[in-house]
């Protein structure tokens, strides 16, 4: 039975083959001569772990504006109302999916995307360097994906956020991710959460080593403004559509944990 369940994992995982860029996000494979003052830029190094042929990658979320959220919710309500007769007709045991359970293709602005390991600025044996042109805003390390689309594990039990300002490169430092049901060769993870956690689905873990002002900047970018990201702890959040939940590994001086509580290590206080 376990083999059958594991085979189903492959079917259940988000389809990684169809991977397009998010609207407003461009992975730069060549260093720009100058920065667009209206855009923000994210510089990160990322680990190269895979599961099968698919990369294990990070999912970033830009905190949307209220107008963006309102627009999305309004469109979803309209789509749900339109689909409701059909959903009711097909409902098993009379249970109609709620609007939260309703899968909705939105054609509006996008705020969540995968860091695609294949679209790198600088290659490396253990780590690749990515430079992403993105909308300015505050970004959350939201979770981890298998392949360059979808979400498998959310960092729902604790993570960090940072601001990306326009006209400069925000250096996120080094990000790590891998399967964590057993010890991983990828460093800086909370791994070995238990082998039986792999019986029914993937559980990925992520780690972060922030950049500091003393860290060397790639030669390609030395003529451009590169500022280390200033990270802040983010408390528990829900992502009901994630196949598994985890937390970003502790980040000394930024993110800690006390039992289940997320601790802002800048203040020593729990994050509500």
């Amino acid at each position: 039975m376990k083999r059958l369940l594991l085979a189903l994992l492959i079917l259940l995982a988000p389809a990684p083959a169809i991977a397009r860029e998010a609207k407003g996000v461009t992975a730069l494979k060549v260093a720009p001569a100058a920065l667009d003052p209206t855009k923000a830029y994210l510089l990160l190094q990322t680990s190269r772990a895979k599961s099968g042929i698919f990369s294990i990658e990070h999912v970033l979320l830009r905190i949307p504006t209220q107008a963006e959220t309102d627009g999305y919710m309004a469109a979803k309500k309209v789509a749900y109302a339109k689909a409701l007769p059909n959903l009711t007709k097909k409902a098993k045991d009379g249970r109609v999916p709620t609007i939260e359970e309703f899968a909705f293709d939105y054609d509006g602005p996008e705020n969540a995307f995968n860091t695609k390991n294949g679209n790198f600025l600088i290659d490396g044996a253990e780590m690749r360097t990515l430079l992403l042109e993105v909308p300015a805003g505050t970004y959350v390390l939201y979770g981890t994906s298998l392949g360059s689309s979808g979400l498998v594990t959310c960092n729902c039990l604790g993570t960090v956020k940072f601001e990306a300002k326009p006209g400069q490169i925000t250096n996120m430092g080094s990000l790590y991710a891998d399967k964590v049901h057993k010890p991983s060769p990828v460093p800086h993870l909370e791994d070995n959460v238990g082998p039986s956690m792999f019986s029914y689905g993937f559980i990925f873990g992520a780690g972060l080593v922030p950049a500091s002002a003393a860290d060397p900047v790639p030669d390609l970018l030395k003529a451009l403004p590169v500022i280390p990201a200033e990270y802040h702890a983010v408390g528990l959040f829900h992502e009901p559509g994630a196949a598994s939940i985890n937390r970003l590994a502790p980040v000394p001086g930024v993110l800690g944990y006390r039992r289940g509580a997320v601790i802002d290590e800048r203040t020593g206080d729990p994050v509500q």
């Binding site: 959460v193 598994s244 937390r247 039992r259």
Partner: protein, 186 residues
């Protein structure tokens, strides 16, 4: 911690008056009936990775109630997010209660296209139980909880039905005497 306890107690108390209420709206745990948790049967021990409950020797009934309510809130069902795409996010973050019966009906409904409906009916409940167990483990174990095996029938009593009553039953077991047998370590 006190804030979380108040929230949990307040939420649990929303279901109406409960007999023998003591701590901030929570009932006296002695008044809560729990199912049989004996784990002397080798088959129960063998199946412990599937059918278990949590126990923590250092928590009160109120703390266990808060922990279980918070961790079970991560079982709320929803459609998988579109990535790349739009994911709502508002601060301060508001967390939901777990009220749905499961996730696979909505989230992975297409699986039935790839396999026969009969096979899906057998496999999907097992998949759903495993995914839900994993979410609970990842949330509860860093808080110091261990798992203990119990009979499948008892597991169903602890995990199916009124959400508030489930939390109270599980909290009584989690904060009660440490079980002698049946710790699940795999």
């Amino acid at each position: 911690m006190r804030g979380r306890l108040m929230i949990a107690a307040g939420w649990l108390a929303c279901s109406g008056p409960l007999a023998g209420q003591t701590v901030e709206g929570l009932p006296d745990p002695a008044t809560i009936t729990v199912p049989d948790t004996s784990a002397s049967d080798p088959e129960v021990l063998k199946e412990g990775y599937k059918f278990f409950y949590f126990h923590n020797p250092s928590v009160s009934f109120a703390e266990a109630s808060a922990d279980i309510a918070e961790c079970r809130s991560f079982l709320a069902s929803g459609a998988p997010p579109s990535v790349p795409g739009f994911i709502p996010w508002t601060e301060p973050i508001k967390r939901k209660q777990n009220s749905g019966p499961g996730m696979f009906g909505a989230t992975y409904g297409l699986i039935g296209v790839g396999i026969t409906a009969g096979l899906a009916a057998i496999i999907m409940p097992k998949m759903e139980r495993g995914v839900r167990n994993n979410k609970l483990r990842r949330c509860m174990e860093p808080r110091g909880y261990s798992r203990f095996a119990l009979p499948e029938a008892s597991w169903k009593v602890l995990n199916q039905g009124d959400e508030k009553q489930l939390i109270l039953m599980q909290a009584r077991l989690a904060s009660g005497p440490r079980p002698v047998l049946g710790e699940v370590t795999e």
